[in-house]
Structures are given as C-alpha cells and as structure tokens.
C-alpha cells in the first residue's frame, strides 16, 4: 500500500469519525435552544427539564466533536503538506475565519451556558445557547466553503512563478454554487440527525411511560421539525446532484455506474456485480428517465458515460485514470438516498400518529423510532463517501491530483503508527462516549419541583 493510500485511509477514518459528532452537535444545539426558548416564553417546567436533559447529551457529544476537530485541522499539514502549500492561500482563509468567527463563539458561549445557569439572567442565558447554535452552524459554513472549493475551484489564479493557487476573489469562494447548496444540505442533514436522536430517546422513555407528558413534548417537537427537514434535505440533495453533474460529471456518472453516454437514461434500483472492472453489471429494476431527471433536471437529458469522460480527461489532463471507485460511488449514493427516503416515510407515519393523537401509545412506532435513530449517521457518512470519493483521483478538482498532495517528507512507518494510534484512541473514545450517552439518555428526568416551592438552586460544581 502506498503512502497516498495510507494517508487517505487516515483522513477518511478521522473525518468519518469526526462527522459522527458534528451533525448531532449542530442539530441538537439548535433543538436545545428551541426548548429553552419555549421555556423562556411560556414558562412550562417541562421545557426546562427537557432543556437540561438534552443539553447534557449535547455537552457529552460536543466534547468528542471538539477534540477530534483538532485532528482535522492539524492533519492537512501533517499528511498533505504538498496540498497545503499549493492551496493554503485559498483553502486556509476560510479555516482561519472559522477559528475567529465560529469556534470562539461556540466555545466561549458553551462555557457560559453550562456554568451560567444561576450567574446570568434568564434572557442572557438563553442568548448563550443561541450563540452556541449559531457558532456551530457558522463553523460548518466556513468548512463547507473550503470543501466546496476543492469540488469546484473558483476565485483563484495559479501564480506563474510559484505554481501555487492564489486567492483573487473571496466573494466567489463564499458564493460558490456548490457551497451554497451543499451547505444547506449539510445543515438540514444535521437537523434530521438531531431530530431522529431526540425522537428515539423520547420514544424509549414513552414506551416505558417515564414522564410521558414531558417526553411527549420533545417527541412532538422532534417530529414536527423532522418532517420538513427530511423533505427539504432530500430535495436540496437532489438539486445538488444536478449541480455536481455540471461541474463534476464523473462523480454522478460513477454513482450510477453509467459507463456509456446515454439520453434519456434510466436509474437502477439495485445492481449485482459492477465496479471498475465490470462495466456490465446486472441492473435490477430500471426506472426509465429517472437518472436523466436526477442529474440534469430534464426528462430526456443526456448523461455522459465514464468511458467518454475518461477519454475527454485524458485529452485535457494527459494520460491517467480519471474514474473513481465505482462500487463505492454506486452504493454510497443508494445508501444515502434510500436511507433518506426511509427516514422521510418514517417521519410521515409519525406525523400521522401525532395528528391522530396516538403517538405516545403506538408501541411498535416507539420501538421503531429507537432503532431508526442511528440511521441518519450512516446516511451522513454515505453522503460524504459519495462526495469525496467521487472527486478522486483529484484532491482539488482539475488542479491537483490526490497523489501529488501528500507529504513528501513523511514515511510509511510514521503514517502507519499514527493510524494505529488514532484507531485505538478513537475506539476507546467511541466506547466511553456511547456508554455515557446511553447512561444519560436512559436516565429518569429530575423530579418536578413542588408547586410554589423555590426552584432548586443549580449545584455550584458543574464539573
């Protein structure tokens, strides 16, 4: 295995792991802020109990998200120094802005929120959780702007003397169409993730009749947001596909294992076989026109084939293999899309039950809700596999190949050592975090204060 493969494995491993925590953080901070706002405005004690309950889960989750984010920032320089040299002037700028504008906001106000329950006025304390939510969403904006530049580089020129990318228009980077749509997609996916978790946890308690009047509220809130969030996420994701077909046709053609140009093109529900060495897999259940519709927004649109694109790229960029791993593309696309559809269907059933007032009593649905909670995490990972694998062999589409981006000074043994170390450390953390999360998710709510009694003071020691 080459250093490039090892560096890619390390990046994939640490990024996938990091992104298990990110969407939940973004979504859950928003939901917690909503709960606290509701408490602030209507004064119902249930909302306060829910705020603290889900706030605790948020804090447990954020801890791992923050520290694994450090690895993300360091490893561009560690494993991808040639890439960092080449793109730092463009790619580094959003990262620096992220630190200044988003991370400070998120971290400082999270501290204020956790410890500020009886130091700050209610109104200011409410503002702190909103600052955390805004900080999280902002940091995603900057990182998506940076990532979208790798998918579709804009607002730069290559300096003729240094041969490096140089920023010429920051506005172009921040209004990149790929960025705008991908960012909305990620935010919605984060909300979907957090809603399914909140719904799953609430359902677990509802089945056991633990404080049903309280968890009924959180289940309702999660469900009401989940339905539109899933719908819009699917729609925006579908539109993102059309945009990517324009700028990264290989990515989308590989996702359908579409080797030869067609029009109109059909979409296969499943296939047997298929991959880079098998251009004629057995496609099962073909839906006519659907691929054309999905990737070009028109009934009879032409979708370029991988063979034709390969020939075109060889002419444009010289000899080489420009087709990514088709197996990964095909299946990650389907896991994402089918998973998303499943969550949407599930949310509609939930909506129906809620409308009929049966949500808290339909035991099979409550059981299903617990089991569906991990699904969005899988969908998120599949989405990133589709995006990042689909850009290969490029690290920056059309500008730098992944194999040219790796650190020349770092040896194989060094990378292997760090892969093993991070694998073990992340494994332990995953266990610890899961144990804590389940422990706190299954905990009974704190008892309701006696009517008329002074609300119990927050303990001075939070840690």
């Amino acid at each position: 295995m080459s250093n490039v493969d090892l560096a890619r494995i390390q990046f994939a491993m640490t990024s996938i792991y990091h992104f298990l925590f990110v969407p939940l953080t973004i979504g859950l901070s928003f939901l917690t802020a909503l709960l606290q706002t509701s408490w602030h405005r209507k004064g119902r004690p249930e909302d306060l109990r829910l705020t603290k309950f889900f706030g605790t889960l948020l804090v447990i989750n954020i801890a791992v998200g923050v520290v694994t984010g450090l690895v993300q920032e360091f490893q561009f320089g560690m494993n991808w120094s040639a890439y960092s040299r080449f793109v730092g002037a463009v790619f580094g700028a959003p990262l620096a802005m992220e630190g200044l504008a988003a991370f400070f906001l998120e971290s400082v106000f999270l501290g204020l929120w956790i410890f500020g329950w009886n130091r700050l006025s209610k109104r200011v304390h409410l503002a702190t959780i909103w600052a955390v939510a805004v900080g999280g969403a902002l940091s995603a904006a900057f990182i998506m702007a940076a990532n979208s530049w790798m998918q579709r580089p804009v607002g730069y020129k290559i300096n003729p003397t240094t041969g490096r990318a140089q920023l010429t228009d920051i506005w172009a980077v921040l209004t990149n169409t790929v960025f705008v749509w991908a960012y909305i997609h990620v935010l919605l996916a984060s909300v979907v993730t957090a809603c399914t978790v909140m719904l799953g946890v609430s359902a677990w308690h509802l089945r056991r009749r633990n404080s049903p009047e309280v968890f009924g509220r959180s289940a309702r809130l999660a469900l009401i947001i989940l339905i539109p969030a899933t719908l819009f996420s699917l729609m925006i994701g579908s539109h993102l596909g059309v945009i990517e077909t324009r700028y990264q046709p290989v990515k989308i053609s590989a996702a359908e294992a579409n080797w030869n140009t067609c029009g109109p093109c059909s979409f296969s529900l499943f296939q047997i076989g298929g991959g880079n060495n098998d251009q004629t897999p057995t496609k099962i259940i073909q839906i006519p026109h659907l691929l054309s519709l999905l990737s070009t927004d028109s009934w009879n649109g032409t979708v370029q084939g991988l063979n034709q694109l390969q020939a075109q790229y060889e002419q444009q960029y010289g000899p080489g293999n420009y087709v990514p791993n088709v197996f990964i593309q095909y299946w990650s696309m389907r896991v994402m899309a089918y998973g998303g559809a499943l969550v949407f269907l599930f949310s509609l059933i939930g909506g129906l039950l809620l409308w009929r007032g049966r949500l808290g009593h339909t035991r099979w649905f409550l059981r299903l809700a617990v089991w569906i909670a991990p699904l969005p995490f899988l969908i998120n990972i599949a989405g990133w596999m589709l995006t990042e694998n689909g850009r290969q062999p490029w690290i920056v589409q059309g500008l730098q190949l992944t194999k040219e981006g790796v650190s020349p000074s770092v040896g194989t043994a060094t990378i292997v050592t760090s892969i093993i170390v991070f694998f073990l450390l992340y494994g332990i953390l995953a266990i610890v975090c899961t144990v804590l999360m389940t422990h706190y998710a299954r905990k009974q709510l704190a008892p309701e204060p006696e009517p008329g009694a002074e609300p119990a003071a927050e303990p001075e020691f939070i840690y």
């Binding site: 690895v71 920032e73 360091f74 730092g88 400082v108 204020l112 920023l167 000074s409 706190y440």
Partner: protein, 332 residues
C-alpha cells in the same frame, strides 16, 4: 503585510500559552491540590467555564499559519509529525477528561480521567514549548522546504530545556491561579506549591531567555522583550513569596508571554530556521500567501477579533468569583 500577519500569529500563540498555560497548570496539579474528590472538583471548576475558549487560540493560531503562511504550516506540521500526534493525543484526552470526569459517580472512573488529565497537562506545555523552540533554533530542512530529519532531530537540548521552562511556568501560573480562585485546603496547597515551583521556574526562565538570545537572537545585549521577561519572572517570585496572588498572576502571565514573544522576535523574519543551510531558512517572504489573501483576512480579523476579545473577557468577568466548597455543601 506579511510582517503584520507574523505579529498576529505571534500574538495568537502568546495568548494561547498565557491563557491555556494556567489551564495546563491547573490540570496537572488538580490531583495534589484537590486531594479528595470534592477538592478536585473545586479545582476543576475554576477552569471549567473558560478552558475550551482558551484552546481556540491554538486552533486559530494554526489556521492563521495555514492561511497566511502555507509554506510554514506545511513544513512545520509535516516535519513535526510524530510530536504532533503526541500533542493531539494529549489534547484529546485532556478535553474529554475535563468534560467526562464528573459524569459518572465511580471512584475508578474519576481516578482514570484524573490520571489522563494530569499526564496530558504535563505533556502539552512541554511538547508545545519544544515545538516553538524548534522553529527558531533550527531543524534539518532542505532546499525544497522539506523536513529531512528523524523524530530525535526534533529534540535538541536547547528545545528540551525551553520546553521544561514552559512546563515549569505553566505549573507556577496554574498554582497562582488556584491560589486566587479557591479557598481553604486547596488554596493552602496551591500556595505552598507555587512557593515550591517559583525558585525552580526563575532559574529555568533565566536559562531559557539567555539561551534563546544566544541561539536565535543577535547582538550582545538582551532585547527589551527579553529584559522584560526577566524582570517579570523576578517580580513573580517575589510576589508569590509575599502572597500577593493577583499581582503574581499578572507577573507569571507576562513571563510566559515574554518567553513566546522572545522566540518570535528573535527569529524574525525567519519562521523556521534550517540547521543545514541558512539559505534554506523559511522566512515570512518565501512562505507567505499573496497580499490579496492577507488583506481579506486582515479585514475579517479587524472586524471580528475585537468582538471576540470583548466577549471572552466578559466570560472571565462572569466567572470571576472564587470557587468555594461551601457552595457545594449548601446545594442539594
């Protein structure tokens, strides 16, 4: 413009080492100073609300290097690879330890996280101090700006001594901080520890400052920053012995700031010195981004950074009160 960003990065590193410096000290000393579980919690609650915000200074410093000096970021982070793996492990364990320690009521669980917290808090100022020292002292860097040495090349004697200097100062800084922020048993133990560490720290800081001047700086006389560092550390010892904790904290903060700034001012305009050939030195000129990038980031910095400073100082104001055990007893 490149010089301006060099100064910004120096300030970000300084802010990180000063602010996170006492967090490191508190983390490393929380076992001894706290003694029992209540005491340890009292100690950890002094940094609980603010430590995460302090760490963002590091994230921003690294990101600013990436954006403003891609060549510096690329060489430094790939060259210091294994050291950074250690730094990352320590940062990960430390962050999780602080957040998770009290989340379970089990003596074994808490002892485990306390051990992780102490080990990582000792390791971090040492390693980061070594890394900063390496920038100025020199590493084997070839004409392509690539690091060509081994892990052991990252540990010249000078850098190790500087790292130990930063560690000693972090312990002193943390002990002084705890003397201000706690009461009763922990306060007494923190004060005793501060008096114990202070004389060692002063010797180390003198060695580091003079050696930095000799190895990295130029001229026969010490610079103003170097002199200020020495004055500050002497003042720190005196104030610690006198038990004037507020002023002592200011003095230890200035000392740490001076130690970081010495490295940056002495190596300017270099950002990483090559021990192989002075022609291979990385400078602010041969590693920086083009001026448009720097201009854009300057605008962002000028607009946002003052706001950050305002709300971060406000957070310190909100939690300015001493953390006392009595409050714990009265709480349900």
């Amino acid at each position: 413009m490149a010089t301006f960003w060099f100064i910004v990065i120096a300030i970000l590193w300084t802010g990180f080492m000063v602010l996170e410096g006492f967090d490191f000290g508190v983390g490393a000393l929380h076992g001894i100073v706290g003694q029992d579980d209540t005491g340890r919690r009292q100690v950890l609650n002094t940094i609980g609300p603010v430590w995460d915000g302090n760490e963002v200074w590091l994230i921003t410093a690294a990101a600013a290097m990436f954006a403003a000096f891609p060549g510096w970021y690329a060489t430094a982070f790939s060259g210091l690879y294994l050291a950074l793996v250690l730094v990352l492990i320590a940062l990960i364990l430390r962050g999780v330890a602080i957040e998770y320690r009290q989340k379970r009521d089990s003596a074994r669980w808490r002892r485990g996280w306390s051990t992780a917290l102490i080990a990582s808090s000792l390791l971090l100022p040492l390693l980061i101090g070594i890394a900063l020292a390496d920038f100025g002292y020199g590493l084997p860097i070839n004409a392509n700006q690539e690091f060509v040495g081994s892990f052991w090349d990252l540990l010249p004697f000078y850098s190790v001594v500087t790292g130990i200097g930063f560690l000693a100062m972090a312990l002193l800084h943390g002990a002084v901080f705890l003397s201000i922020k706690t009461d009763e048993g922990p306060q007494l133990r923190a004060a005793r520890l501060a008096r114990l560490v202070a004389p060692i720290a002063v010797v180390l800081v003198f060695v580091v400052v003079v050696w930095t001047h000799a190895a990295v700086g130029s001229g026969a006389l010490l610079s103003i920053v170097e002199l200020a560092t020495l004055v500050a550390v002497l003042a720190a010892v005196w104030l610690v012995m006198a038990g004037s904790w507020g002023w002592a904290f200011l003095a230890t903060a200035i000392t740490i700031a001076g130690m970081v700034l010495n490295i940056f001012t002495d190596m300017y305009p270099n950002v990483m010195v090559s021990s192989l050939d002075a022609a291979n030195n990385l400078t602010i000129h041969n590693t920086s981004s083009a001026s448009y990038s720097l201009k854009v980031m300057t605008v962002v910095l000028v607009v946002i950074f003052p706001v950050v400073l305002i709300y971060q100082s406000w957070a310190y104001r909100v939690f300015r009160r001493r953390v006392s055990t009595e409050q714990e007893v009265t709480a349900p």
